[in-house]
Amino acid sequence: MSQIQCANLWQMKRGIQSVIEGFTPALDAAVKARLEELGFHQGARVLCTQAPRLGAPKLYKVGNAVYSLEKTIAECVIAHPVTSE
């Protein structure tokens, strides 16, 4: 259970909505700032819209834009899933 409570964005399956809790310390400060500007900030709601297999980057909708994030970066975004309304 606790695993689901504190997961990262990369673990979100397609159609799962999550709320960002923070970032892992490993994340480069400039990249973190950019992610926040794009909308991936603490408290933001992120929907995983596509999770292609074979390790391809996943698509995440945040605000009204969709971004693809690769594994190494999505793993640095700590988030917990929320049951969609």
């Binding site: 700032a33 794009l38 596509q50 292609p52 605000g63 009204n64």
Partner: protein, 612 residues
């Protein structure tokens, strides 16, 4: 001259608006980061107003090199006396308000401090209207204390408003947005942008739902992979099969012109010159322009439809294995048309190391300047037969093979280099905004393909012309074309002949190869001129036919293929690489390295085939 600066997030339609305002023809495409340099032009009907188009930026704190260019240029332009800038125009994609507003708010603050007038333009209202949505421009304008003008750069609605409004004089925004706004604090702008977008922007995510279904198709393992292969197949099919009738058309046109012009010129030196250097040299090259046109058309279509960004996602993992990134896909694919736009497109790669590796891959992509060479060699060496009951042409297959050879070599070399130049931990990761799917505009595409082919002719044409002239003069004298072997060129040719002997090529090919180091397509023109002088016939005969008649072996043909696939024979590419990388060491290393490799592999190929 007063200035009107167009700034905004990537893919918000700045360049399309710029084209509307200036009547110019800047590159517009549905992929974030298309514009990589500022461009300027006077406004239509207001010759005293200079419009400046900026590369897109997500924020005034840049992350990548391309953004640094935009941000630096922006601050530099803001640093002029008050009154020089008529208005800074923040272009916001109204279908993605929140993201655009974050940047617009930062720009507003920068302008407020510098004392320059600023306005927001919400673009793409044609899309909103189609979905019965709108933006409360009036409300947003009041809240932000600056003009907000809704437009559609595509249909042109509202565009004249921008000039009218800025001409009336805009007040510099007075109010700070928040009392405590001291630095460019990201979270303040972000929260504000979010609430403004919610309050004044369109409601709902209607658009994203439609696009998500398309993404589901284009990105899933099975349908995505298959459609990717199919699209790539169609791309190559188009270049080689669909372009053929057009090329035949151009060739007959040149032949007809030659047949009607040549009899008018009394035989003698001028007659020989027009026949050999003009029709033989320049004509041989013009035949390949339709291929370049079609290639640009299709790559443009893929880009503008939004598919290229998906292809970048699909390719990310495979390219990663070679040390590249998904963002290398677009530069490499552009490299299939021409290395130069490909090198510029590599600016979107944030990681310097991956960009460096991409630079090595691009010159190996089978660019359109190689097309004339490959096309000529294929017609000369590969029989025009078909397999599988006519479904697959042997010549098309050969073209595919030589294309794949270039691409495979690119990946191999890059992955070797990435092993050598490993480490350097701080690789910037792959984040790419997915542009919406769109039906590309026929006019935009047509213009693009037309101007690209035009550029190609303009750039290569004069070079080919002068090389043809020089080669013709050297080959024609001192014995009036009576004996090519005894000409000045023949003497030079015999001097360099030993270099090309090991791959079974005579001195004429040697001369053409040396000349082609200016630009690959010069090879065709040079060879055309040489055979033109040598051939006694008055008729205009196709160069491929003349090569066949000369009795050169298949092994030498293959060696030529291999050589041209690898050698970095393009002065413009090397110059562009120097400019982009800021040093000569990259282009010099690439030139020498690829030259040696090309020659060695050509030798290996020749020996293997002859040895068989």
């Amino acid at each position: 001259m007063k200035q009107l600066l167009l700034v905004g997030s990537p893919n918000s339609g700045k360049s399309m608006l710029f084209n509307r305002l200036t009547g110019m023809n800047q590159r517009v495409a549905n992929f974030p980061g298309i514009t990589v340099d500022t461009s300027t032009g006077p406004a239509v009907g207001r010759s005293d107003l200079l419009v400046v188009d900026f590369p897109g930026a997500y924020s005034l704190t840049p992350l990548s090199g391309e953004e640094q260019v935009a941000v630096d240029a922006f601050y530099k332009l803001l640093d002029v006396p008050v009154g020089h800038i008529e208005a800074v125009v923040c272009v916001v994609d109204a279908t993605r308000m929140e993201k655009g507003l974050v940047f617009a708010l930062q720009v507003r603050e920068a302008c407020r401090r510098a004392g320059h007038p600023v306005m927001i333009v919400t673009n793409m209202h044609d899309v909103l209207e189609r979905h019965n949505q709108s933006v409360d421009a009036e409300g947003l304008s009041q809240r932000l204390d600056m003009p907000v003008i809704p437009i559609s750069a595509k249909s042109g609605v509202g565009v004249d408003q921008i000039i009218t409004r800025s001409g009336q004089g805009i007040e510099v925004p007075k109010s700070e947005l928040k009392e405590d706004l001291i630095a460019f604090d990201a979270s303040v702008f972000r929260n504000l942008a979010e609430s403004l977008a919610n309050e004044f922007g369109p409601k709902g995510d209607y658009l994203l739902l439609v696009h998500n279904r398309a993404d589901q198709f284009f990105l899933s393992t099975l349908t995505g992979g298959l459609s990717f292969l199919l699209i790539m197949f169609l791309l190559f099919q188009a270049i080689f099969s669909w372009a053929a009738p057009l090329m035949d058309g151009v060739e007959s046109l040149i032949g007809l012109t030659a047949d009607s012009v040549l009899p008018l010129i009394p035989s003698g030196m001028l007659h020989d010159f027009v026949k050999d250097a003009l029709f033989g040299g320049l004509g041989a090259f013009l035949v390949f322009v339709p291929q370049i046109f079609i290639l640009t058309l299709i790559v443009g279509f893929m880009e503008d439809s939004g598919y290229l960004a998906r292809a970048a996602v699909i390719c990310h993992r495979p390219l990663r294995a070679f040390g590249l990134t998904g963002k290398s896909f677009v530069p490499m694919l552009s490299g299939v048309a021409c290395a130069i736009p490909g090198i510029y497109a590599a600016r979107t790669i944030e990681s310097p190391r991956r960009r460096w590796l991409t630079y090595f891959a691009i010159p190996l992509m089978p660019c359109s300047a190689r097309l004339p060479v490959y096309g000529l060699l294929i017609v000369a060496f590969i029989p025009n037969e078909s397999l599988l009951g006519g479904a697959v042409g042997l010549q098309g297959l050969a073209m595919l093979a030589i294309y794949l050879f270039g691409i495979v070599m690119a990946l191999l070399i890059v992955s070797l280099l990435s092993r050598v130049k490993a480490g350097k931990g701080s690789d910037l990761p792959f984040v790419l905004e997915m542009p919406p799917y769109r039906l590309p505009g026929a006019k935009t595409l047509g213009q693009l393909a037309w101007s690209r082919s035009g550029d190609f002719v303009k750039r290569a044409g004069p070079v080919i012309f002068w090389v043809s002239v020089v080669v013709w003069v050297l080959g024609y004298f001192p014995n009036q074309g009576a004996n090519l072997g005894e000409s000045w060129l023949g003497a030079i040719g015999k001097f360099i002949a030993p270099i090309f002997e090991p791959i079974g090529l005579d001195w004429k090919y040697g001369v053409a190869i040396i000349a082609s180091f200016l630009a690959r397509e010069v090879f065709v023109g040079t060879l055309g001129t040489l055979y033109g002088i040598e051939g006694a016939e008055e008729e205009f005969t196709s160069l491929a036919q003349q090569i066949q008649d000369s009795g050169i072996s298949l092994a030498s043909g293959v060696a030529l293929f291999v050589f041209f696939a690898i050698a970095a024979q393009c002065v413009s590419t090397l110059a562009t690489l120097r400019r982009e990388s800021g040093s000569w060491s990259l282009p010099a290393g690439l030139f020498v390295g690829y030259g040696v490799l090309a020659y060695s592999l050509a030798f290996v190929a020749f020996t293997l085939i002859v040895g068989d």
